[in-house]
Symmetry: C2
């Protein structure tokens, strides 16, 4: 048995978990089933038996689009995950269509940043909205989404987070999104 990648994580929705799910909205394509709680667990964890709920997988990886200047600016502003003030979190899972994947790197960069300001939009909401991107498309198992992004923010910044999503969802890049689910949570121990 080959061990899991140290960058692999499981997103388990079911009866138990550190995050209490408040809403589960499908914006494009098929929904995910409702579940009361969610946990994010390292890939090497002995997983609980999922009698109900669902599981997604994602892996952290190298940056695909940022330039050095953008990365320097992001590193200067972006907070770590797990801040005590960040009681609110969102899991946004998306897939992009075949037209996107048939684009070359230079074409994808033009759509993502020059036409859609994806990186600039994220920057605008730093350090309020912390984020981590997980890739799903090139995992060994056939995953229902291409990407999972995990966002953490305070209750006060929830409105700002909705503004961030509005900017992305009305961008040219989102014309290539063919499935999107938006799950909102708060820390389970806070309730």
């Amino acid at each position: 048995m080959v061990p899991s990648s140290p960058r692999l994580f499981y997103f388990n929705a079911g009866e138990s978990g550190s995050w209490r799910i408040h809403s589960n909205t499908n914006l494009i394509g098929q929904p995910l089933p409702d579940a009361p709680k969610l946990d994010v667990l390292p890939g090497f964890t002995q997983l609980p038996n999922l009698a109900s709920g669902w599981q997604l997988q994602g892996i952290t990886s190298n940056d695909r689009y940022v330039t050095r200047d953008e990365k320097t600016a992001l590193i200067a502003r972006q907070p770590d995950l797990g801040r005590p003030l960040a009681t609110h979190t969102a899991l946004i899972a998306i897939s992009k269509n075949q037209s996107w994947w048939d684009l070359t790197q230079d074409e994808r960069r033009i759509v993502l940043e020059e036409k859609s300001q994806h990186i600039a939009i994220g920057m605008k909401y730093l350090p309020a909205v912390a984020r981590r991107l997980y890739h799903c498309r090139d995992l060994s198992s056939d995953q229902p989404f291409d990407f999972i992004t995990w966002f953490e923010f305070s209750e006060t910044d929830s409105r700002a987070f909705d503004d961030l999503l509005y900017s992305l969802r009305t961008s040219v890049e989102w014309q290539f999104v063919d499935r999107e689910v938006d799950i909102r949570m708060t820390r389970a121990m806070d309730l």
Copy 2:
């Protein structure tokens, strides 16, 4: 049980397989054990029990570096795998060091093409040398290599293939390679 990605493949080295291994050379870092034969099998295959030998995994994915102009030129010249004349094949497995993965996309492109002519070198040997790239780094399991490239060519073009490798291995890009294994094979039924 989640099904395998349809783009996942296994590289099984052992007592049986469609390809007879003639040489197994480690150029950088740890070697792979010797084995007499090798098979490339789709990820959904029921795998034979590997009492001996080794297994690598790789997944085909979207292009990461080529521009539209380069892709158009490649598509016009590159042959499919499985040509009857292509009795010789090579599996080149490499890993790149952390310095590579810490580069941003624009920096990696400069090293790969502007400084090393990786894409132009491959183009020069088309259609003689057919190739397919498999990604290993972001698979669910912890893989020993980042990439596997599979090359197919005729006996006559074996020398040309060695020239291609020489050009790549003396490039700036190869300063980021921290493991490389080179396995040469011929069709098992030809022997």
